[in-house]
């Protein structure tokens, strides 16, 4: 009797189904250990609580709220996004993965998992943040679009850097050291557009920022996809 393993699709299956299979495998292994999940969510929650408690309720200018939002989101995301390839090195499954799937599939599978993790974090963090810091979003569509485009850019750059870190075999602060300079051009418009979302009196369409964020997301995703095989294969 042959037993078909659901997480290893046969050679005939399409590209997208292979990516999804890798994504599903990552979600399953993540729920076994919950290492990245607990790190990211607890980091975000603890930081948010500390910030909110120290500030008291309300009265903070929109600019500072926007800065705090991105500082909390960025650093909690970085604490989890670093794991994606280190995990494979730790469990000594990197070679198996190299044999089982092509470079494109691995990159987009990991990318998808990281995006899922980040969007999950945002769904958890945004309502809590708005409630605890007592702010209201006046341009919801702009806020959602900016956060989503920003997340795609953030995840695209950091997925490649996470693979660099894993191949280099270094842990700790180097992931943040490598990520922040590359993410700096992303953060400047993100903080600005988020601030405008908290201020109804400012007249702005936010289109310029959205275009910039889309350009960053497109360039970093293409760059990550093209450069990844050079990191991943000797």
């Amino acid at each position: 009797m042959t037993h078909r393993r659901p997480d290893l699709p046969s050679g005939k299956s399409s590209w997208a189904s292979k990516v999804l299979a890798l994504l599903a495998k990552d979600v399953r292994t993540e729920f076994r250990t919950r290492y990245a999940l607990s790190a990211v969510f607890l980091f975000a929650f603890t930081t948010l609580t500390a910030v909110s408690f120290s500030l008291g309720a309300g009265g903070l200018a929109a600019h500072y709220i926007s800065v705090l939002f991105w500082v909390i989101l960025l650093f909690s995301a970085l604490s989890g996004l670093a794991q994606s390839f280190i995990k494979e090195a730790e469990t000594k499954t990197a070679t198996t993965l190299q044999l089982a799937a092509g470079d494109d599939i691995i990159f987009f599978g990991k990318w998808g998992f990281n995006l899922l993790l980040l969007v999950g974090l945002e769904i958890f963090l945004v309502p809590l943040f708005l409630v605890l810091l007592n702010v209201e979003v006046c341009r919801w569509w702009l806020f959602v679009a900016a956060v989503l485009l920003g997340s795609i850019g953030l995840v695209s750059s950091t997925t490649l850097i996470a693979s660099v870190i894993a191949v280099a075999g270094v842990r700790g602060a180097l992931f943040s050291v490598l990520s922040l300079p590359v993410l700096l051009p992303l953060l400047v418009p993100l903080v600005q557009v988020t601030e405008n979302c908290f201020r109804p009196e400012v007249a702005t369409s936010g289109i310029g920022e959205l275009q910039f964020l889309a350009a960053y997301a497109g360039i970093s995703l293409t760059g990550g996809w093209l450069l990844f095989p050079l990191v991943w294969r000797e």
Partner: protein, 215 residues
Amino acid sequence: MWWKYLTGLLLAAVIVAIFVLPPPQTQIGGVSRIFFFHVPAALIGFIAFVLSAIYGAVYLKGRDLSTDRKAVAAAEIGLMFTIIATISGAIFARITWGMYWNWDPRQTSILAVLLIYGAYFALRQAVPSHATRARLSAVYLLLAGILAPLLFFVLPRLYPSLHPNDSLVSGGGEFAMTLPVGLTFGASVLSFLLLYFWLHQLAVRAGRIKEKLEM
């Protein structure tokens, strides 16, 4: 060999010319002369960044470790010139805008370049194997390199910048690109470029000797 003597003579001449040839700017006076150091230094910092990324791409294609040595040398000198540009720019900003640092888009982008160089060297120090170190740092510099146009060309247009692009040299006729100004500026850029190539040669040689000693 001869061009190294030329570099020395030209640099000496440029330093004298900067203080003698162009007339002081009418509004800020002699301080405007910092322009002749600041702009070429920023230019070399940028060129070295691009060259280092190109050397990195060539390394990834051919896997020749001598190309990696050239990439590091370019990055080392690029870092030095970027620091010079940042400091001279901050001094100029203090005099014209009233403060050393105010997060003008131009200052943000040059700081990002400094951070990228810093991250590049931090990554190199963390990886013991020479081939892996060369490969990973080349990839990192290429990632930073393809995102850099957003930083240099798009961000300053998204947010208004106080940085004088051509207002200083042509705006209002106070500091117009007249023949003495143009000549001094051109000679300054040329001498900085020659200095870059000289330093690059020396850094590559020093890198080769260091590797031999470590072996």
